[in-house]
Symmetry: C2
Subunit: 364 residues, 2 copies
């Protein structure tokens, strides 16, 4: 059994706490002989800034490049509000995405039946919800140039961001969406603002052509991003796979995750293109953020982080058995009524981050 090279980046806020719980699961899988890991650890975000005055060090970037998968917890927090822009915590995350060329961000929005009542939406609207948002992750307004603030002659400032998309970038993310849809409910909703943005116009054109050429068997619909944001609230179950750009994907995937009432539960995968051997670079992280307000209290929910490890087992390490076991263990502890405070709802009591990690390991 060859070892999986896994780089752990706990990051900031609740990151280290939830990361420690994922490590318990890793230790268990190793001991049980299910998988062998070669673990490296690094710093990203505010943690890297505090140590080295960068958002991620060159040596940690090198580890990320050579890892089979990166498991990142979360970055950012008010502590670093004042640091220079190019070394702010998010810059570490963005560099990882860009330098590893992780163009495909898969964000499932699943409503765990045990948690349907935790949603702000009426139960019947979210119970059984299962959407997959495919977000383009290395293009758009996140990386386009010019991206700058200049001071004008009159002393005012002028800021610019540039959204760029090419045929190729849209096509490859479209493919990911159509392929996923074929394994799910065979429907793709593509979203942009074609009525206002030239990138949106090209997006719709390219997705339409790709669909016609290679994926005519999949049902395709186009929906403007503002309308999609509304339809998510109104009737989320109408969606199967949603494919959209970097910025709309950021907004819509967060909205969808919050709808489920299971935000602390949702993992995500960011994937690169497959190489000649079918291997792809990959990073896995929870959908939620670093939650600085509850950091250090031992009450954060580690499930999304452990679920992200599960996604790594599935997508990077080709170990569906281990992935299934992790998913079942999560469903198991939830079924037993174990809850961290964020998903407590009407439950009589809640358990700590560490108790939740232990419970999942016990279930395994």
């Amino acid at each position: 059994m060859s070892a999986y090279k896994l780089l752990l980046l706990p990051g900031d806020g609740i990151g280290p706490e939830i990361s420690a719980e994922a490590e318990k699961v890793i230790a268990f899988l190793s001991q049980a002989g299910v998988a062998k890991f070669e673990i490296e650890r690094g710093l990203v975000g505010g943690a890297a800034y505090d140590a080295h005055k960068v958002a991620i060090s060159e040596s940690d970037m090198a580890l990320a490049q050579s890892a089979d998968a990166v498991l990142l917890a979360a970055v950012g927090g008010p502590k670093w509000d004042g640091v220079p822009y190019n070394v702010r915590p998010e810059a570490g995350l963005l560099r990882l995405r860009k330098d590893l060329a992780l163009f495909a961000n898969l964000r499932p929005a699943i409503c765990y039946p045990a948690l349907a009542d935790a949603s702000s939406l009426k139960r019947e609207l979210v119970d059984g919800l299962d959407i997959m948002i495919v977000r383009e992750l290395t293009g758009g307004v996140y990386f386009g140039e010019p991206k700058e603030i200049v001071t004008l002659e009159n002393g005012e400032k002028r800021a610019v961001d540039t959204q760029v998309y090419t045929t190729h970038e849209i096509e490859r993310i479209g493919r990911v969406a159509f392929e996923l849809a074929r394994k799910r409910r065979n429907k793709v909703t593509s979203s942009e603002k074609a009525n206002v943005m030239r990138t949106g116009y090209l997006w719709r054109e390219v997705i339409t052509a790709l669909h016609k050429r290679e994926y005519a068997d999949v049902q395709l619909e186009h929906m403007l991003a503002d309308a999609l944001g509304m339809q998510l609230v109104r009737w989320p179950k109408q969606f199967d796979v949603i494919v959209t750009d970097n910025l709309f994907g950021d907004m819509l995937s967060d909205e969808a995750a919050m709808l489920t009432g299971s935000l602390g539960m949702l993992p995500s995968a960011s994937l690169g293109a497959a190489d000649a051997n079918g291997k792809r670079k990959a990073m896995y992280e929870p959908c939620h953020g670093s939650a600085p307000d509850i950091a250090g209290k031992g009450i954060a929910n580690p499930i999304a982080m452990i679920g992200s490890l599960g996604m790594a087992m599935r997508y990077s390490f080709d170990n569906a058995k281990a992935a299934d076991a992790i998913d079942q263990a999560i469903a198991g502890v939830l079924g037993k009524g174990l809850r961290t405070i964020d998903i407590k709802g009407d439950a009589p009591s809640s358990i700590s981050t560490s108790q939740m990690g232990d419970a999942i390991v016990a279930e395994l």
Copy 2:
């Protein structure tokens, strides 16, 4: 009594139907001697394209420039999906906003108590909800240059949109938000993606400085746009005034409107700067779209359109009495249980567009 110069632009889809109901209210106000109107009518969107192959004609633009207020219903529909980009229906709306310099878009998200059950959210989360979204409307990615699609040497296409904001643009929309907050619950939430976008960074800087300099009495918080999209779902009542850019405002105001369950009820105002006489150019329109799927069926809800006339009475014609009367008439018919189909809920039956207009006039 001097006459108010009002330009009516019914536009597309359900536009003409709901516009006709607003005209009934106008006729009533005239006959009752409450206000005197000088009404002009014009074409915008697909209607203008069908007639003149433009999204709005020069003569209608001239009417808009000389009107005290423009009352627009809605533009767009699949019928015009294939028309050239620069004359697509939305181009008419965008030109009106830009040429009239209507930089401040006020979008109230109010939950009418009679309709709280129509929301997808649990009743207690939206009952009594009253948010005002202040969206910047003449800048950002909607209008920045370059904005183009070019064909590359390899035959691929490359599309670009440019988001631009200057100190001045951010300051003037910030002022609108702070002033409104003072008359409401004194809280402003400013939203951008300062962690990813230079425009967001400048936005936060300028709003922070303006607050410190002139509005320190107002409570200010900054929230990233993706987080705000989530918080709107989780606990919308935490917000009072939200101020944000053109694109985020598009998304967030639609999401907020949908949350209320009262989408067909919500008007909006787009205002320019005040001139030396305190007069400002203004356009009023429903938050909802042209709903081509139900156009011509006589079932559209005219309340947002009539409410938009009410907003015109308040903000352009300085006639708070007439505005209040319209708002009360709307509340009155709802109180009586009258419902168009979109807000029918568990009601035993629904009424037509025209019956709703008549009922509001009768109530007046």
